[in-house]
C-alpha cells in the first residue's frame, strides 16, 4: 500500500540546508494499522505530507496505492482519505451535510453509493444529531468525527490521519478509536496515523514507526518497542526514554534494518 525507498526531504532555511527527513525506507502492506511516533519536529508531518502528495520529496522514491504521490496528486486523492487533526477539510460556514454533498461532487461519488455510505458513517460515528449544523458551530469532537466521515465517503483503501485525537476528551477519543479499529478490522481499510497520544498506539496500532531526527529509529510491534528499554513497563516511559536519549544530531548513520523481522533501533 505504501512503499518509501530512501526518501529524503530538505528545506532551505536562510541559506542553510535543513534535512527534515533523510534516507527513510519502509513498507506498509494493505490491511495494516500503523502508528507513527516521534518528538515534535522529528519529521512525522513532513513524511505524511510526502505520502499524501502535498510535498514532493527531494530524494528517494515514494509509492502510495501504486502512484507517485506528488506527481499523481489528484489520482491519489481518489484512492486515499486524509484527516488533519489540527485543521478541518470541511467548509466552515456550511452545514455538515452540505460539506458532505460537496465532497461527494468533488470525488464524483455515485449518489446512491453516497447515500448508503453516509448512512453507515453517520450511524457508526453518531453524526445524526448535528448533520444540519454549520461546521463552525460544532464541538471539536463532533468536527473530528465529521472530518473522518468526509475522508471516507469515497471509500478509500488507505486512511491517513495526522494527530486525529489531539485535543479530544476521553469519551470522544474512545469513540474515534473504536471507529478506526472497526474500520480496519471489518472493512480492511489500511490506517496510518501520527500521534503523540500513546493510548492511541497501545489500543490501536499493531505496528509502530518511530521517526527521530528525520530517520526511522524503530519499526516493530508495541511489545518490541516496550522491550527496548528494560526496566520500564509503561509505554509512556519507554518512549520518553527513547526521545531523551536520541542523539542531538545523528553522529552515526543508522544501522540498516536487517531483512528479517527483529526490530532495529538507532536511538
Amino acid at each position: 500500500m505504501i512503499e518509501a525507498t530512501a526518501v529524503g526531504r530538505t528545506f532551505r532555511v536562510r541559506g542553510s540546508v535543513v534535512h527534515a527527513v533523510r534516507d527513510l525506507s519502509f513498507r506498509i502492506e494493505a490491511g495494516e494499522f500503523v502508528g507513527c511516533l516521534g518528538p515534535n519536529g522529528a519529521g512525522k508531518s513532513t513524511t505524511i505530507k510526502m505520502l499524501t502528495g502535498i510535498l514532493a520529496p527531494t530524494s528517494g522514491r515514494v509509492t502510495v496505492a501504486g502512484l507517485d504521490p506528488s506527481r499523481r496528486r489528484t489520482g491519489l486523492a481518489r484512492r486515499i482519505g486524509v484527516v488533519f487533526g489540527q485543521r478541518t477539510t470541511l467548509w466552515w460556514d456550511l452545514p455538515l451535510k452540505d460539506s458532505f454533498e460537496l465532497v461527494r461532487l468533488l470525488y464524483k461519488v455515485d449518489r446512491e453509493v453516497f447515500r448508503r455510505r453516509l448512512g453507515e458513517l453517520a450511524e457508526l460515528l453518531d453524526l445524526g444529531g448535528f448533520l444540519a449544523t454549520p461546521v463552525r458551530q460544532l464541538s471539536l469532537g463532533q468536527r473530528m468525527r465529521g472530518d473522518i466521515a468526509a475522508a471516507l465517503l469515497h471509500d478509500p483503501a488507505l486512511l491517513v490521519l495526522d494527530e486525529p485525537t489531539i485535543g479530544l476528551d476521553v469519551v470522544s477519543k474512545a469513540g474515534v478509536r473504536d471507529f478506526l479499529r472497526r474500520l480496519n478490522a471489518e472493512r480492511g481499510t489500511t490506517v496510518l496515523l501520527t500521534t503523540h497520544d500513546l493510548g492511541d498506539v497501545e489500543r490501536l496500532c499493531r505496528r509502530v514507526l518511530l521517526i527521530d531526527h528525520g530517520r526511522l529509529a524503530f519499526d516493530g510491534t508495541v511489545d518490541d518497542l516496550r522491550a527496548l528499554v528494560p526496566g520500564e513497563t509503561s509505554i509512556e516511559d519507554v518512549v520518553a526514554h527513547l526521545y531523551l536519549n536520541s542523539p542531538a544530531s545523528p553522529r552515526t548513520p543508522p544501522a540498516p534494518r536487517p531483512s528479517g523481522d527483529p526490530p532495529s533501533v538507532t536511538a
Binding site: K49, G53, I54, S70, R87, L94, L105
Partner: protein, 262 residues
Amino acid sequence: MVRTYALLAWAWTRAAAQYPLSFAVMTVAGFVTSGLDAAVIWVIFANTRSLAGFGVAEVMFLYGASSLAFTVADLLFGNVDRISRHIRAGTLDVFLIRPASPFVQVAVDQFVPHRVGRVVQRAVMLGLALSRLGVPPGRAWMIPVMVASGIVIFAALFALSGAVQFLLTGAPEVANAFTYGGAQLTQYPLNVYGADLVRGVTYVLPLAFVNWQPGLYVLGREDPLGLPPLLRFLSPVAALALAGAAALAWRAGIRRYRSTGS
C-alpha cells in the same frame, strides 16, 4: 475545472445567501461605489474637452472595457492573491489532498458573489459609451474579443501574483502592484503616459492589449505613438501567451511549495 469551480462557487453563494440583507446591501454598494469611481471621468471632462486627444465617450469606452475585464477577472480569480494566507495557515494542504486543481480551489475559496454589483456597473458604463460612439458593425466584433482577452490577461496576472507568493510568502502587496496597478493604468488612454511606459506594457507586460491596442481599432484611430498597426489584432495572442506563462509559474510554485510546520 469549470465544473469544480461552479460547484464550489455555488456552495459559497449559498453560504452568503444565509445573510440575504447583507448580500443585497453589499451588491448595491458595489454598484454605487464603482459608479462614483467612474464619475471621476466627468470631473476630468468638466475641465477639459479632451484627454490626450480622446473625447469623453472614447475615454468611457476605454475605461469601461478595461474595468469590465478586470472586475470579471477579480470576481472569478481575485482571491488567488490570498494564497500566502493559505500557505501560512496551512489550508493549502487541505486543497492539495482533494482531487481538484488547487488553483481553482484557491480562486473560488471565499467566493464573493456580491462583487457582481461592480461587474454590472462596468457593463452599464461600457454600454453607455458604445451607445454614444456608434461603432460601425465592421469593427464592433473586436469588442467582445478585447473584453475576453482582457479577462484572460488579468486572470493570468492574478495567477502570476499567486505564483510569486510561493517564493515571497510575506509579500502579497508586491503582487498587487501588478494586478490592481494594471487595472488602474489601463483605465485611461495610454498615451497620457510616457512612450517608454507604453512600450513596456506592450512588449513586456502586455497590459496594452487589454483595451488600448484593440480599442484603437474599435475607435478607428491611428496609434498616437506610431507602434505597428498589426498589434491591435494581437490581444488574444498576448492573452494566451501570458496565460501560458502564468500556468507554468503556478505549477513551479506548487512544486516548490514547502508547507507549514505540523
